[in-house]
């Protein structure tokens, strides 16, 4: 099991950050970068390039491979040799990306270049030179690598760097619980649970649901003092299936009575992920209906789309309907209902239709034509609709109560639901 190192490329495919690669020649990362750029240019769409690239001849220790993911404008490469698990590499890349996000907020080539010293320190701490990820828990990391902050900048300008140094913490990793710091103190003890659910569905042209599933995540923001031991119970946890948990959750307890017993990490984390499977009814309903007809003619075509909300009380927000108009599509012109907007991106050849808010049982329409250089245009056979429903959860998961042991205070608990949807509607 060995991750040789990590490389971050900017949007033009040039490396901006790369880890040590101490055991190999300097050409090693370059060969991988070259192989990747080559594969990207050969793929019909960049997203279609294989995620694990095999690099046959690096000339050092036999062949190796390169796993890559793209996040924003940056592309992250995990290089590995030997018979390593690609998932291990992907999992590390994801973790590292979330650490960077936590440290710097939005990721861009600029922020990374600006804070390269922090980035390199993070690389050193998270990936051991032997290829094993080491400290990746944000809480522990913040003890040893100080995030860039206004305070440290002020201090460094003032020339008192010693104060800002994390060396003042003389008990790093002294906590018996690896994900929680010792000695956390808050004036008001609060914990917030955000239940975020995403509906993923495929619907056929008659409105019949082919696949629909709801995936949920419980985002948690914990601001509790000391070492609290929590017991969270839900009033309707039965339809939650295929769950996976943050390592802090005691799995035995969950399988016994579907209660979550855990000592939370400090700050933000994802407590659990689940799939919502309603009993009895097979599918979760899609909260809107789409009636569409698309006609293709020579060098173009026309379409007529009507969207109706099926909800009775809630509002669908930021509805975005898109249609790929096919290779060669050059332009489109549309007439849309009030309060909606459309645009056509000639680079991706996707037509977007945006509706800020779809109020209960309201309808909207989009009519238009498009032209294409292809004689027989082949637009994609499905619309993709994405939307949000604030203050709503498909599973209507309810937190019953939160018990705390190990600490004397009574915490404030906040629970919120929000839902998003990503529906493929065929025509």
């Amino acid at each position: 099991m060995a991750i040789d190192g990590l490389v971050i490329l900017d949007s033009t495919g040039r490396p901006i950050v790369q880890s040590g690669f101490r055991s190999t020649s300097p050409a090693y990362p370059l060969l991988h970068i070259e192989a990747l750029n080559d594969a990207l240019s050969k793929a019909p769409r960049p997203a279609d390039a294989d995620p694990v690239l095999y690099v046959p001849n690096t000339g050092i220790d036999g062949p190796s491979a390169c796993c890559h993911v793209k996040r924003g404008e940056l592309r992250f490469l995990g290089l590995m040799s030997g018979d390593t698990d690609p998932l291990y590499v992907f999992a590390f890349l994801e973790t590292f990306i979330s650490i960077l996000r936590d440290y710097f907020g939005q990721l861009s080539a600029e922020t990374l270049k600006e804070n390269f010293d922090v980035v390199y320190q993070l690389l050193e701490e998270t990936l051991d030179a032997g290829g094993h990820p080491s400290t990746t828990s944000i809480n522990a990391l913040k003890d040893i690598v100080l995030p860039p902050s206004l305070l440290s900048k002020v201090l460094s300008v003032a020339g008192v760097s010693g104060l800002a140094s994390p060396g003042t913490n003389s008990h790093p990793f002294a906590s018996p619980i690896p994900w929680r710091k010792v000695g956390v103190r808050y004036n008001s003890n609060e914990i917030f649970f955000d239940v975020a659910e995403e509906l993923k569905a495929v619907v056929n042209k008659n409105g019949g649901i082919i696949v629909s599933s709801v995936w949920g995540k419980v985002h948690t923001n914990c601001r509790l003092s000391g070492t609290p031991d929590l017991l969270l119970s839900f009033s309707n946890a039965q339809p939650l299936t295929d769950c996976s948990f943050h390592p802090c959750v005691r799995l035995q307890r969950w399988s016994r009575d579907k209660n979550l017993s855990f000592v939370p990490p400090d700050g933000r984390f994802i407590l659990m992920e689940y799939k919502y499977t309603p009993g009895g009814v097979h599918h979760v309903a899609v909260p809107f209906a789409l009636k569409a007809s698309v006609d293709c003619e020579v060098n173009g075509g026309s379409f007529d789309v009507a969207l109706t909300s099926r909800l009775t009380t809630k509002v669908l927000e930021n509805m975005n309907v898109e249609l790929y108009l096919g290779e060669g599509a050059t332009s489109a012109s549309c007439v849309v209902s009030n309060n909606t907007s459309w645009n056509f991106d000639p680079r991706t050849r996707i037509l977007h239709w945006n509706i800020k808010a779809v109020s209960p049982s309201s309808s909207f329409s989009l009519k238009g034509t498009f032209s294409s250089t292809a004689e027989q245009p082949r637009p994609s056979h499905a619309f993709r609709a994405r939307f949000e429903i604030p203050q709503h959860s498909f599973s209507s998961l309810k937190v019953d109560q939160l018990k705390i042991t190990g600490e004397m205070y009574k915490p404030y608990k906040g629970v919120r639901g929000r839902s998003t949807g990503d529906v493929e509607w065929r025509w």
Binding site: M1, V52, P63, G159, P166, G326, S380
Partner: protein, 702 residues
């Protein structure tokens, strides 16, 4: 990068050197940062080594880290200078701050300079017994690095024993990292040819691992699970115990942990005797596998490749979950391709209708490659599920009716496969297929249609007319089409001798005289000879009954499947190839492979029959399974080996040609029964297959 390139290099380094020696702390730190910035854009700042080194002794941990970073980068090229830093390193391993101690020991391990290693042992000894778990864990990993550089030092100092003791450490993090270090050393020792097992997992160790498993980080869990996979259980009770303890890991959020846990279960389930427990375990495997599909596409792809493998061993795992694998139009192609494969694998009489309507939908998609694969999947479904074949044919005919060129071509190829499986069943569609003759421009589609015409020559009234078109353009066609035309015309002649005498004469003439492919010429000669000496034998050979094709349940041999399942999740399991074929230290040629145990290989026949000069190992097809022929595996009989030797010198390019020569030489005047008697049963079936079809099932099925 251009932003860093402002002043001329010499001047910049000079300035930096001055700043590094500044009396102001902040100026020095800032200079170090600039040095590192230059270093990371591959500028040479090695000249500043002594100046940077002066800044190593500091209370500022951040500055210390940056200096260490610099040292690690240049230690390899300037080992003599690193010696100057040794004292500070050794002193730092005694620092009251555990972070400094860990940092020092970690950096010393990374320097990879011969000279510094000798100074490493004493501090390492101390750090392995440090009171702080972070230091202990760092030191444990350092042992593995030391072993990589100088194994004898590790053994002399008894570090291995220390590591083995550390498995009993009270801190799970330390246990996990110790396991990782021991595993690394174990693998390195095995690769170096050492006979002694470095990391033996006893039942005492096993218990320690099982306890630490629930408490350490995800990376630690992966290391421990990998070690558990190596453990050899003594009885079924022990196996059951391991399975029960590992199953909760299915609910971990990290995909790598989940798949490693599944691997451990697959390995130890082999020796679980209780039927109910096995069933229970298989049932519990489905939810985590489904959960993996909610990950980003890259992770999905790896998971799908592994699921594909798991399904070959246990088709029942996801039998009710086919819908999860339905493709979305904006999935990346590599995900769609894998999903298609798995959907066909999960197809059964109860879900085939849903599958077919999905596949039909995909066949109208934008992406040509995906459309072709979907059509192929319809064919595979037809071959797999007898009762659904008719529905599949109907869908195919509908698709061919769209007259989209590549849909029609792929449809024709697939129809040929269906005719191979269900001979004389769907003859009604033949006129529709023939009506699309002009649309076809791809060799495979053409060859398929020609095969169909030849096969059903007696039922197609204008078969001679249709084949005549191809005979006219014979010399312009590609070789597969030529071969197929040749065979089809001979079939036509044998079935309707009166109307096609002229046609067969013409094609045999053209093929033997004007064709530049030895394969085509050879085949024409054989047919000619057969027809002129014994038409009865010709009938028996050319119109022989062909074994029906079937969809292979596995894409790899059973032995390899077991091996790969034991390696989930790894590159080997993702590529569906044994590890040694692509990560071997040296190149493995065709010669080496049979020695390594031919039972491990999926296709010994093919490998052995390739020309000797060709090395097969290091060229790994990128991701898709290569469509190499899957031939029935049979051990070499002495007879065949002998024959092989006779023809080794022959300039044969493909095995079919060999067997064809074989057939001629062995049987002299071509008599079918001679052919049969003279050679091995296997050879005769093969030669009959290539004479009459030249379309062994490997071309039909992936």
């Amino acid at each position: 990068m251009a932003a860093f390139r402002a002043p001329p290099r010499k001047g910049e380094n000079f300035e930096l050197s001055a700043d590094l020696n500044s009396e102001y702390k902040e100026k020095r730190k800032d200079a170090i940062k600039r040095v590192i910035a230059n270093m990371t854009v591959q500028k040479d700042v090695s000249g500043l080594f002594p100046d940077v080194l002066k800044n190593m002794q500091t209370d500022d941990l951040e500055q210390k880290k940056l200096v260490y970073l610099y040292l690690m980068n240049y230690a390899k090229t300037q080992p003599e200078l690193v010696i100057l830093a040794v004292n500070t390193f050794v002193k730092d391993t005694d620092d009251p701050n555990p972070l400094v101690r860990a940092l020092a020991i970690r950096t010393m391990g990374c320097l990879r300079a011969e000279k510094i290693i000798d100074y490493l042992c004493d501090p390492l000894q101390k750090c392995l017994r440090d009171e702080n778990p972070y230091v202990r864990k760092t030191a444990a990993l350092c042992v593995a690095k030391l072993y990589d550089l100088k194994p004898e030092l590790v053994i002399e100092n008894g570090f291995l024993e220390t590591l083995q003791e550390m498995i009993a450490d009270s801190n799970p993090m330390v246990v996990a990292n110790t396991v990782a270090a021991l595993t690394d050393i174990h693998i390195a020792a095995a690769a170096a040819g050492s006979n002694t097992e470095v990391f033996v997992i006893t039942s005492a160790v096993l218990n320690k691992l099982l306890i630490a498993l629930n408490e350490c980080s995800e990376w630690g869990r992966v290391a421990i699970l990998n070690a558990l996979g190596r453990y050899e259980t003594h009885d079924d009770r022990e196996s059951e115990h391991i399975c029960e303890r590992v199953v909760p890991q299915f609910q971990h959020a990290n995909a790598s942990v989940v798949l490693s846990a599944i691997k451990v279960i697959m390995i130890h389930m082999r020796s679980v005797r209780s039927e109910t427990l096995t069933k229970q375990l298989v049932r519990k495997m489905a939810p985590p596998l489904v959960t993996l599909l909610s990950n980003p596409p890259e992770v999905q792809w790896v998971a799908l490749r592994d699921i594909n493998l798991l399904l070959q061993k246990r088709p029942d795992i996801l039998s009710n979950e086919m819908r999860v694998f339905f493709c979305k139009y904006n999935d990346p192609l590599y995900v769609k391709v894998e999903k298609l494969d798995i959907m066909v694998r999960l197809a059964g009489p109860n879900n085939v209708d849903a599958l077919l309507s999905e596949l039909k939908e995909y066949a109208s998609e934008v992406d040509v490659d995906f459309v072709r694969r979907s059509i192929k999947a319809i064919g595979q479904t037809a071959i797999k599920i007898d009762e659904a074949a008719e529905r599949c044919v109907n869908v195919l005919m509908e698709l061919i009716g769209t007259r989209v060129s590549y849909v029609v071509q792929e449809g024709v190829v697939v129809m040929k496969d269906i005719f191979r499986k269900y001979p004389s069943t769907y003859e009604g569609v033949i006129p529709t297929l023939c009506a699309n003759l002009d649309e076809l421009d791809e060799p495979e589609a053409k060859a398929s249609l020609i095969w169909i015409i030849g096969e059903y020559a007696n039922k197609i009234d204008n078969a001679d007319e249709l084949l005549g078109i191809f005979v006219d353009s014979f010399t312009e066609e590609s070789y597969p089409v030529q071969l197929q035309t040749l065979t089809a015309v001979v079939k036509l002649f044998l079935r309707k001798p009166d109307t096609s005498q002229g046609l067969v004469q013409r094609i045999l003439n053209t093929a033997t005289k004007d064709c530049d492919s030895p394969d085509v010429r050879d085949r024409a000669y054989i047919y000619w000879r057969l027809l002129s000496t014994d038409p009865g034998a010709a009938k028996a050979v050319v119109l022989a009954h062909r074994p029906p094709i079937s969809l292979p349940r596995t894409t790899v041999s059973p032995a390899l499947l077991e091996e790969l399942l034991g390696e989930i999740p790894s590159l080997a399991s993702v590529y569906h190839k044994p590890e040694e074929t692509f990560v071997g230290r040296g190149r493995i040629g065709a010669d080496a492979i049979p020695k390594g145990g031919s039972e491990k290989l999926s296709r010994p026949l093919l490998l052995a029959s390739k020309p000797r000069t060709c090395s097969t190992s290091t060229t790994l097809p990128p991701t898709m399974d290569s469509s190499q022929p899957v031939l029935p595996q049979q051990p070499y009989s002495p007879r065949r080996l002998q024959l092989r030797t006779c023809f080794r010198g022959h300039q044969a390019t493909r095995w079919t040609t060999w067997y064809r020569y074989l057939a001629i030489r062995v049987s002299g005047p071509m008599r079918h029964h001679h052919l049969h008697l003279a050679s091995h049963r296997h050879i005769s079936t093969l030669s009959v297959a290539c004479l009459s079809v030249d379309n062994p099932c490997h071309q039909l099925l992936r």
